[in-house]
């Protein structure tokens, strides 16, 4: 099986570790990964900021760059949702690709930590990936999965929202942090680094000792 990786501009620049984990994980599962180097951004940033024409142009650009690939996999639920909402098919969020395309739940990972899963809004309500991430996490050896209270509620990131409405975003984040800390988890994970950057930035600032780790990095982990 061959698949192209859409890393997303954000992960490429700020979270290369997530990309490495996706490559390692998928190669381990026998997928031949390709990385079209002409790729940049899916256009979500522009579209959600009110620059719809620029956003549309970037979706078109994405289609050209990934034309001819049978499947595209990406470690960002939000970017995949944006692309799918703009009529791009054959693009899969990582957990969709693992569970639906490859048909695996136990990816052979070992991760002996207590983990809370944050279901991001776009994975839950736009992609409707449901419990796929949870099924994958439950199959990880040594992992103690704990449930967040009000798990389906937004963490307050929302891209441009966190900047334009910083006070409201912080109020939402405060509640999410409380729920994360209440679980006693060492690690908070999700299918998107954007929400994790927001939650993790505050966990770090408060010196909580709880870290955020993208789901791909947990699934790639071995003994």
């Amino acid at each position: 099986m061959r698949a192209a990786l859409f890393i997303t501009c954000f992960n490429d620049t700020l979270f290369p570790g997530t990309g490495k984990a996706v490559v390692e994980l998928l190669e381990r599962l026998g997928v031949q990964i390709e990385f079209p180097e002409a790729q940049t951004c899916c256009g979500q940033w522009h579209t959600n900021s009110g620059y719809a024409d620029d956003g549309d142009a970037l979706v078109e650009r994405f289609k050209r760059v990934f034309d001819g690939y049978e499947a595209v996999v990406s470690p960002s639920a939000s970017c995949v949702a944006h692309l799918r909402g703009h009529g791009v098919d054959r693009v899969f969020e990582l957990t969709e690709f693992l569970v639906d395309v490859l048909g695996v739940e136990d990816v052979g990972a070992v991760y002996p930590h207590r983990v809370a899963y944050h279901s991001t809004c776009h994975s839950l309500r736009l992609l409707k990936i449901g419990d796929r991430p949870l099924r994958l996490l439950r199959a990880v050896q040594g992992l103690d999965l704990v449930e967040l209270e009000d798990a389906a509620e937004c963490c307050g990131f929302g891209g441009v929202f966190a900047v334009k409405n910083a006070d409201t975003s912080m109020a939402m984040l405060s509640d999410k942090l409380r729920h994360v800390l209440d679980t006693g988890a060492e690690v908070c994970t999700s299918a998107d680094n954007s929400c994790l950057m927001h939650i993790g930035g505050a966990l770090k600032r408060q010196r909580t000792g709880v870290r955020t780790v993208h789901l791909a990095e947990i699934l790639a982990a071995r003994e």
Binding site: D12, F15, G17, H46, M170, L173, G201
Partner: protein, 462 residues
């Protein structure tokens, strides 16, 4: 107008308000989920509701003329009002014609939207709110903070103290909710029995039969629509339903979505006037006040499908933190964020389309399936196109970032500069004013030594 970010900053500081709103919405949210879960064909009902509203809006001129004809046939008088001022003048004239110094009001958003109470006061007519929560707001000289529960930001102790200062002056009220409500009941009873003119809004107006429908929980609305001699209804033109049978769909959708009740407690329906039963005079004012402008926007017009259930407010992570007052409009919450700007003009509420994290919880619960997140994004684009200067710092930055993403070479150069804190991407991390809100509570991630694509190339070469 302060704009949403500043108004929200203020309401967020009020910890009592935040607690009251958070607690009340959490309760309603859980109840709604249960009430909706009982209905096996809920999704089909939502589809039906959406389709009926779509048809009503697509044939609005025809439906309004049908309504006018059927109301007139049943002995009512129909007036057309282009805006709030025109509607208020009509209400005042009718009150004056009957020598009324007071009018009693059924809870109504349309009359709040047009500022009817103040307009009547300027004419020497006092408008008395009869919905308990509206009465509380009126006595406190505040604005509503929720479509359905206008005083949701107040708790029992605050309301008790307010009544002891106003309608129950000199009395000591008990602490039970029923003790406090009793004070309002005594105050209102006297008004119901003496005031001769009432005003109302309309939840639905049925073109086929000329029937107006008001849905409420207290029975105070029923008092207003039956006891006085004269009834004046101000109805937004989008409240129209083409056929009588359409009502069945909404009387299932609305109560479960708004109050989480299986059936609405007081559903008042009246068709014109009838000798010896109810008001002797009925006036229907059909209010535009910006609605035809909303209708012109093909994406945004679905906001007019709203049946004012407030389910979107109760699930919204933004609304439940900031409360209704931060939206500076009669229509708060997610629905307000897509309704207020086009109703008032985008330049009058340019920050509201950004008052959302686009989490999508509102769309999930909307009984008529209004795709609120999509309309928000659409309105953002309209604000940028119609209201923002092409040379504003934000516009220039987004243009620059657009150019960066148009070419992988420029993108890689920007990534390298960003690591040094420069260039279009680096400035986002570096220029502190833009991100002061971010860094107030969160650390920024460090730029890694290597981008993903650098690693990929190195690995392939290696």
């Amino acid at each position: 107008m302060k704009g949403f970010p500043a108004a929200a900053r203020e309401t967020l500081r009020d910890s009592q308000l935040r607690r009251n709103v958070g607690k009340a919405t959490t309760t309603i949210r859980a109840k709604r989920e249960h009430a909706v879960g009982e209905v096996p064909d809920w999704e089909a009902l939502r589809d039906a509701g959406s389709a009926i509203k779509e048809r009503a809006m697509a044939t609005l001129p025809e439906q309004l003329e049908r309504l006018e004809a059927s109301v007139t046939r049943a002995g009512g008088v129909v007036h057309w009002a282009r805006d709030g001022a025109e509607a208020n003048r009509i209400v005042a004239r009718i009150a004056h014609d009957h020598g009324a110094r007071e009018v009693i009001k059924v809870k109504s958003l349309a009359t709040d939207e047009i500022g009817m109470n103040d307009a009547l006061a300027a004419e020497g007519i006092e408008a008395i709110e009869t919905d308990l929560a509206e009465l509380i707001i009126q006595l406190a000289h505040e604005h509503s903070s929720h479509i359905l529960v206008p005083a949701i930001h107040k708790n029992r102790a605050e309301i008790r103290a307010l009544f002891e200062r106003t309608i129950a002056k000199g009395q000591h009220l008990g602490w039970e909710a029923s003790d406090i409500a009793e004070a309002a009941r005594r105050h209102l009873r006297e008004k119901f029995l003496t005031v001769q003119v009432a005003t109302s809004g309309a939840n639905f107006g049925i073109a086929e039969t000329g029937t107006i429908c008001v849905v409420e929980s207290e029975g105070n609305g029923r008092m207003c629509t039956t006891l006085p001699e004269v009834l004046v209804t101000v109805m937004g033109i989008e409240k129209i339903l083409p056929e009588w049978r359409d009502l069945e769909v909404f009387l299932q959708l609305l109560p479960r979505s708004s109050t989480a009740e299986r059936m609405n407690p007081y559903t008042s329906l009246w068709t014109g006037v009838r000798e010896g039963d109810g008001p002797r005079e009925f006036h229907l004012i059909l209010l535009d006040n910006g609605r035809t402008d909303v209708l012109r926007d093909e994406v945004g017009r679905q906001a007019l499908h709203c049946i004012r259930c407030s389910a979107c407010l109760n699930v919204c992570p933004v609304y439940t933190r900031v409360g209704g007052q931060a939206y500076e409009s009669v229509y708060p919450g997610p629905i307000g964020a897509i309704l207020t700007p086009p109703l008032r003009g985008l330049d009058q509420a340019p920050t509201l389309p950004w008052a959302s994290s686009l989490c999508g919880a509102c769309y999930e619960v909307c009984p008529v399936k209004i795709d609120i997140p999509s309309v928000l994004i659409h309105l953002r684009a309209r604000v940028v196109k119609e209201e923002k200067s092409r040379t504003s710092p934000e516009h220039l930055a987004m243009d620059a970032i657009g150019r960066v993403f148009a070419s992988p070479q420029r993108f890689e150069r920007a990534q390298r500069l960003a690591r040094l804190g420069r260039g279009p991407l680096g400035r986002l991390g570096g220029s502190i004013p833009l991100l002061s809100g971010w860094t107030a509570m969160r650390e920024l991630p460090d730029f890694p030594d290597q981008t993903f694509r650098d690693w990929w190339r190195e690995r392939r070469a290696g």
